[in-house]
Amino acid sequence: MYHAIVFFPLIGALIAGLFGRLIGTKACEYITTSLLAFTALIAWGVFLDGGHAERVQVAHWFSAGDFTVDWAFKVDTLTRVMLVVVTTVSTLVHLYSIGYMEEDPHRPRFFAYLSLFTFAMLMLVTADNLVQMFFGWEGVGLASYLLIGFWYEKPSANAAAMKAFIVNRVGDFGFSLGIFLVFVLFGSVAFDGIFPKVDEVSKLTFHFLGYDWNAMTLACLLLFMGAMGKSAQFLLHTWLPDAMEGPTPVSALIHAATMVTAGVFMVARLSPLFEVAPNALIVVTVIGGITSFFAATIGLVQNDIKRVIAYSTCSQLGYMFVGLGVGAYATGVFHLFTHAFFKALLFLGAGSVIHAMHHEQDMRNMGGLRPYIPFTCAMMAIGSLALIGFPFTAGYYSKDAIIEAAYASTRPGHTLAFLCTVIAAFFTSFYSWRLFFLTFEGPARWGAHAAHAHQDAHHAVPAVAHSVAAHAADGPPGHTEGVAHDDRGHDLEPAHKSDVVADDHHGHGHHGDHTPHESPLVMTLPLAVLAFGALFAGLIFKDRFIGEGMEAFWGHALAHGPENHIMHEMHHVPALVAYSPLVMLTLGFVLAWWMYIKRPELPSALAAQQPVLYRFLLNKWYFDEIYDRIIVRPTKDFGIFCWRTLDIKIIDGYGPNAIASRVLDVARGAVRFQTGYLYHYAFVMLIGVAGLISWYMMSGLPKGTH
């Protein structure tokens, strides 16, 4: 049964990938999608059945000495939750892609990648040991790389794909070291071999990089580094917004609902380890809190519809880590579960908007779309409501629980996390409604309304590739807005219609006037299903995940130490705390309405008034620029140094080349009429023999003489 769940997507990927040309595009789409749908059905069955934790051995992978790794599934409630999330969203995304990718000539490849990704993700969540988890971990990284770079002719897509893979590898740097340390400490990498021994190991110290660490703290921090990379947490987040270069269904599947939550899953899976490493949990809390806040601030001013949602994802992942960090693992996983529905909904909804607008992603070129695409508009409204935590939607239950847990916690860092998450709730509400109003309300800024901008099209840079420091540093002369951003105007001025964004790969040929159109049924149906989840997933499942039925539901999947009563204490917080998210979301809505409906000239005025702050946010706190300056460029310079100076000038220059010229001098002097390399060979042989004899004589052969 579990074999079917995990391997059906792989079969789909192989069929579409290897025989795509043979069986035709349509067949690929139907085969992969129906295999996934079948998988999802089984997964839901398994999930609703519940049952005990079990281990399913598939095969032996490799072993060396006492280091043994199996291909095996560990299935408990946590895994079942993840199976449901992954297969459901993946099925809907497959279905949606049939419509969204309709004009793309490479659909078999696309569906093969999607199914391959799903397989790797399932391997990750069913892993029975850290190495198999690492297999899934890197596997989803590969699939993500392939999918972000799916439109391989776009330089920005290639760059984003590489960036995603490499930044994730930085995280994997920590993950690998964490695995090694766990192996050295526990003598095993299988979860069943690790968890029972936690108590005896938790007191050990380990000397590393000049400090005597508590062994568990060090291991958890190293592993968490992997989670930070995969889940795009503060400092390792830079790849996620760029990953929006990929097709929108990919963003929904990988960069919102599944892959980026792998870090959350990992911490939850390893909760027995983290539970005995309170200092590591403080780091998790603080990083999560900072991420939730900082990503939300950037989301406030972005103009690309997908980027707003990407930063929102980043911010929501921060919430999940706060939940985990304060020890309320169930709230983190619950938010992961509900977030998957509404964030996938938002992304696919945005995809539907982009589809309607013929691959326009800049919200400054949208507006007034509600009458044209009413269904998509309604779906986006539902997604936004769930995201901001409107009462009784899915987000309401999970997000409020995290905020309450952050307040109720007594661990260091919880106050910071609480403040960050509450303020982020306000920002979330603001940017969600900003997105909604800019896209669906107000005057239309597209088609004939913005036609005058076309003449500048050849100047346009990709709207989503504005990481170039040069543009951001200072506005070109003559800019009067006070704020420069990629040669574009400020916030609300109609942007240039960018041909680069409207990917030429598709060859629509209709960049001129057009009327936005509602998407076909194959795209709206997944939206409807997700909308149902976004509305009701919280209501239906809250008792099991974080309420009364919690203990029966989770079993031993999540660990709670003897002093960890956070899941009870979080229900007894002051009313002000409990209502704070509600207050924040109202404030955010009112402000967004005020700024984008009532007084639409306000945002530009505000941006002009606060150019430094605006630029700081618009350029994403300048992380890309800083990393480029302090890491990328020095590394490249060092590479040049290693090659040109170290290898060629020093090693070769003082080694073979110098000796060669000396040898040649000697050779010329000794024998004028003989040249050729065989001669040198003999010559050096002679030196060798001479050296041998002198060594023999000088060492005097102390023993063994005959």
Binding site: A64, G65, V184, A215, W643, I651, Y681
Partner: protein, 506 residues
């Protein structure tokens, strides 16, 4: 047959093929065609023969198997052959790569084809000889013997800068060889035999181990190559014809690692422990410096060559951790690298045959015209960066596990390699394969033909197969590794009990 065993057969068959090739004459086209097929047939027969040897090999035993011993120089210096868990996979790797090399030279080599194949067949005998000889003198002769055909292959059929490259190649390896010869002689004087199994039993005194270790290290470190003795490899790779690069990266480098395990670790464990910090330092330099240098290369072949240096850094790192994980990982990486780097050089060769340039900047957007090539290259690239599920992962990962056990800081620096390898490998892939196909010269470039698919296909399959199911190779090393560990531990504990080898967590 004639009192010769199957290992002798492996040595003789390529020589017979070479002799047959030499008898060919007639007009040029006929000779070329006949020598191609004759060389291919010879190498395929050798490969099949090695499979027979493999089927007779008992993978559960650590003993030398298929042993044959023929009288030779003296009673104690005999022509003795045999294989164990370390050498058997290398023999198979060699015989597997040879037909592929012949295939790679099918159209790329135009001049003196007959002599070219003769050189290759002789080289095959030499390489197999290194791995199967159980006598130090025999091993030394084969070890040196590989130089001559390789020297000719680079020097005659190489590209523009081949003279400088051959000079450097010879210079470096000769420097090592001389010292190795000294080591062999010293061992004979000390132990009175050059029989490897007997030398394994012999305990060399500690001070002598130091000097012997240094002498052998010089030879193997050049061959492997270890930083900073690696610069010959870069030029040799760049200038060599495709098949030459394949053999160089696939097999010749492995002789260095083989020497470390057969002689340094097995016979000189005390010195190994003493010098391990030095080896670690050099290995880390290799991993980091070579990786960043690889990133900035403009020549694809040089990039792959630098990446070989980095991977060989992992190999020595693993070997000198003197842990089961480290040694088995390093050994698996040797085999895996033999497949992956060969595949990468073949892929570069595919492009070179078409465009006659190795400049990265001359390519771009190949996936449009060459989808099959793009897929194969993706698999090789991912194996090169050590993605789990490819053979590249198992070896690198185990080597680092061993390193972490031996010294966590060494592992800390080594793990940077996995970030850097992703940087250079993906960057070159993006520049060559992805992007827009804009260069007019590439408009009509052809995808892989049948011959090329026959060369690359098996490598793709093996790389993925051994990534998912490494057992067949990994378990072959296991008994030999265990035996080696036991003998090393005995030697180390005998002489010294004070030093703790592992930093055990307190």
């Amino acid at each position: 047959m004639l009192g010769l065993g199957i290992l002798s057969g492996l040595l003789i068959v390529p020589l017979c093929g070479a002799a047959f090739l030499l008898t060919l004459n007639g007009d040029e086209a006929t000779v070329a065609r006949n020598s191609r097929w004759a060389a291919l047939a010879t190498t395929v027969v050798t490969f099949l023969l090695s499979l027979v040897a493999w089927s007779r090999y008992d993978t559960t035993s650590a003993a030398y198997q298929l042993v044959e011993s023929h009288p030779w120089l003296t009673e104690t210096i005999r022509f003795k052959l045999g294989v164990d868990g370390f050498s058997m996979p290398l023999v198979l790797l060699t015989t597997l790569l040879m037909p592929i090399c012949i295939g790679a030279s099918w159209v790329g080599i135009q001049t003196r084809l007959k002599e070219y194949f003769v050189a290759f067949l002789v080289l095959e005998t030499m390489m197999i000889g290194v791995f199967v000889s159980l006598d130090l003198v025999v091993l030394y002769l084969f070890f040196e013997g590989t130089l001559i055909p390789m020297f000719l292959i680079v020097g005659i059929w190489g590209s523009k800068g081949r003279i400088y490259a051959t000079f450097k190649f010879f210079f470096f390896t000769l420097f090592g060889s001389v010292l190795m010869l000294l080591g062999v002689i010293a061992m004979y004087w000390e132990a009175g035999t050059t029989d490897i199994p007997q030398l394994l039993q012999h305990r060399f005194p500690a001070h002598m181990q130091t000097w012997l270790w240094l002498a052998f290290f010089a030879a193997f470190a050049v061959k492997l190559p270890k930083w900073p003795l690696h610069t010959w490899l870069l030029d040799a790779h760049v200038e060599a014809p495709t098949a030459g690069s394949v053999i160089l990266a696939g097999v010749l480098l492995k002789m260095g690692g083989y020497g470390f395990i057969r002689i340094s670790l097995s016979m000189l464990p005390l010195a190994c422990r003493e010098f391990a910090p030095l080896v670690f330092a050099l290995a880390i330099c290799a991993i980091i410096f070579a990786s960043v240098a690889a990133m900035m290369q403009t020549d694809i072949k040089k990039l792959v060559a630098y990446s070989s240096v980095a991977h060989m850094g992992f190999v020595t790192l693993g070997l000198f951790t003197m842990t089961e994980q480290g040694i088995q990982g390093a050994w698996f990486l040797m085999i895996s690298h033999g497949l992956v780097s060969s595949a990468l050089f073949l892929s570069v060769g595919v492009l070179y045959d078409r465009m006659h340039t190795r400049e990265i900047a001359a390519y771009g957007g190949l996936v449009k015209r060459m989808p099959l090539y793009a897929v194969a290259m993706m698999v090789f690239t991912m194996a090169n960066v050590g993605l789990p599920g490819t053979s590249g992962f198992i070896g690198e990962f185990l080597a680092m596990v061993g390193a972490f056990k031996a010294n966590p800081h060494v592992a800390f620096f080594a793990v940077f390699g996995i970030i850097l390898s992703a940087c250079y490998a993906l960057w070159v892939y993006a520049r060559v394969v992805f992007g827009k196909l804009e260069k007019p010269s590439l408009r009509n470039i052809k995808d892989l033909d049948t011959r090329e698919m026959l060369m690359l296909g098996p490598l793709v399959a093996l790389i993925i197969y051994y990534g998912v199911h490494p057992g067949p190779i990994l378990d072959t090393f296991a008994p030999s590794t265990d035996a080696l560990m036991v003998s090393m531990k005995a030697a180390l504990s005998n002489t010294q009990t004070a030093a703790a080898a592992l930093p055990v967590p307190r």
